[in-house]
């Protein structure tokens, strides 16, 4: 895949944002950061999670 050759560098995220993403198996490249110079913040991950859960609600499996 093209994505693989152009693999983006690890997105910048705050430590807690990384931790929450890891716990929920979320790919940080999917999230837009709202912090200084685009750093992904806790609230960005939490919002992403909420949207994800709303979409998947009926068949949601535990990660």
């Amino acid at each position: 895949e093209q994505q693989q050759t152009l693999k983006p560098t690890k997105p910048r995220a705050t430590p807690v944002a990384r931790k929450i993403a890891k716990e929920h198996g979320i790919d940080l490249t999917q999230i837009k950061g709202s912090g200084p110079s685009g750093r992904i913040q806790r609230k960005d991950v939490e919002e992403y999670l909420k949207n994800l859960q709303q979409r998947k609600l009926p068949t949601q499996e535990e990660p």
Binding site: T14, P15, V16, Q41
Partner: protein, 450 residues
């Protein structure tokens, strides 16, 4: 229009906003009726810190004995005041220089709005946008005798012409405690009268208790839950503690019960206000589209660095960017001996918000650097929510607190977990190591803590 932006008030909020606006390409003027630098440079942060540094020097001279350095000293209070004046003059001059450098016009005089685009000083000036940064002024409570000779406010206290024999300080807030520390080191007998039952109620009990102990050790008399009834000629301060009325005699009374927004010159605007000051949103916008307000006049957190931060936020928003003020990680400092500093939530607030929290502490008595400085009083306390170990607050009492608190600022702002602080290599021997040690303690893996 004469300007893109006119800033009303040249304190830390106003002059910082003006510089940033100019950097963002705006044509800017500042209206200032008094001296550039505002309360902060002329009657606040800076002059008080010259005095508190003098007390640090006095304490150092006293403690030097323990290091084999035998010293005698005398204090020349006039020379000390002159030092303060030199420092203030230099910094105020610096702000003037910066205004020039950034092509910010300084309009001298009292400004008064005529309408949403016009302000009157010596004459009328028009601008697209305005920032109101008129700051605050001392609040004088309606107590009988408040206007007697010898009853002073912080403005007068900084003129310091002689050292009071005995001074009563009304109010144990930050300003009251800083002056208590200064006068006590200079040799005054100090009595503090405070209405609230706890010293520094924004802090956890353990920090406040440590400070109380230190005050008593310095022989500073502290009356909590006490209300001043009146001040009589003499001077006699009459106060009531839990129903008991008492009298304390002194030669000076310092009133330090707070400051109020300096709302003036805006009568024509009909801005939304509340009891504390001009209402603003997180973009520092008032109820009128092209008018912003920042700093003490908004009745928010009365700190110079909040004023200047809000000035930066307002400037970027005026320049068309989207910038919200984030006040979750504001450091608060108390320049006593030892210093106190805090940021974010305290333990009680964190428990309320998160239920489960992790607390870590580290005492200066176990800190190598503190030992080498003969500064054994104090501790660091870290507060984290227990789910992700996110650091949500830090409180420090001890030498260097006002500097090392900035690790707490960065941790709270950048959403660190305890692990990041514990994992960061801290130089040995430093006071900052206590932050790492406290984080390790909160994680249940303390190293140098017994």
């Amino acid at each position: 229009m004469d300007y893109d932006v006119i800033v009303l008030g040249g304190g830390p909020g106003g002059y910082t906003a003006a510089i940033r606006l100019s950097e963002l390409g705006k044509k800017v003027a500042v209206v200032e009726e008094d001296s550039l630098g505002g309360t902060c440079l002329n009657r606040g942060c800076i002059p008080t810190k010259v005095y508190s540094h003098a007390t640090e020097l006095i304490n150092a001279i006293k403690d030097a004995k323990d290091f084999g350095i035998m010293a005698q000293y005398t204090v020349d209070i006039v020379k000390l005041r002159q030092k303060k004046e030199r420092v203030v003059k230099r910094l105020v001059g610096g702000v003037g220089y910066l205004m020039n450098l950034h092509h910010v016009d300084v309009i001298k005089g009292r400004g008064r709005f005529v309408d949403e685009n016009t302000i009157e000083v010596d004459k009328r000036y028009t601008a697209e946008n305005f920032i109101i940064a008129t700051g605050s002024k001392v609040f004088l409570p309606p107590i009988e005798g408040i206007n007697l000779e010898g009853v002073i406010t912080s403005d007068k206290a900084l003129e310091l012409e002689r050292i009071p024999e005995k001074i009563v300080i009304i109010g144990a807030g930050i300003i009251g405690l800083e002056f208590a520390n200064i006068y006590s080191a200079l040799g005054s007998k100090v009595v503090i009268i405070e209405m609230l039952p706890q010293l520094l109620p924004m802090l956890d009990r353990d920090i406040a208790d440590t400070m109380e102990k230190i005050l008593r050790h310095k022989k500073i008399e502290l009356h909590l839950s006490s209300k001043v009834e009146k001040i009589e000629e003499g001077l006699k301060v009459v106060y009531t503690t839990e129903g008991n009325t008492q009298v304390v005699e002194c030669d000076t009374v310092l009133v330090a019960v707070g400051r109020v927004a300096n709302v003036n010159g805006i009568e024509a605007l009909n801005l939304d206000m509340d009891k504390k000051g001009i209402k603003v949103d997180s973009h520092m916008k008032t109820s009128i589209k092209n008018i912003y307000a920042i700093g003490d006049v908004t009745g928010g957190i009365q700190l110079a660095h909040v004023a200047s931060y809000q000035g930066i936020v307002a400037a970027h928003n005026i320049a068309g960017e989207e910038k919200e003020a984030d006040l979750n990680a504001v450091p608060n400092c108390l320049y006593t001996s030892p210093e106190i500093a805090w940021v974010g939530l305290n333990e009680v607030q964190a428990r309320e918000k998160f239920g489960d929290v992790k607390i870590g502490t580290f005492p200066y008595t176990a800190l190598g650097r503190a030992m080498t400085m003969g500064q054994n009083d104090g501790f660091v306390k870290i507060i984290a929510e227990a789910k992700y170990n996110r650091v949500v607050g830090m409180e420090i009492i001890g030498a260097g607190a006002t500097e090392i608190i900035h690790e707490g600022v960065l941790a709270v702002k950048e959403e660190f977990t305890l692990e990041e602080l514990a994992d960061a290599i801290h130089a040995h021997p430093t006071l900052s190591e206590s932050v790492k040690e406290a984080a390790e303690d909160a994680l249940g893996m303390p190293i140098n803590k017994g």
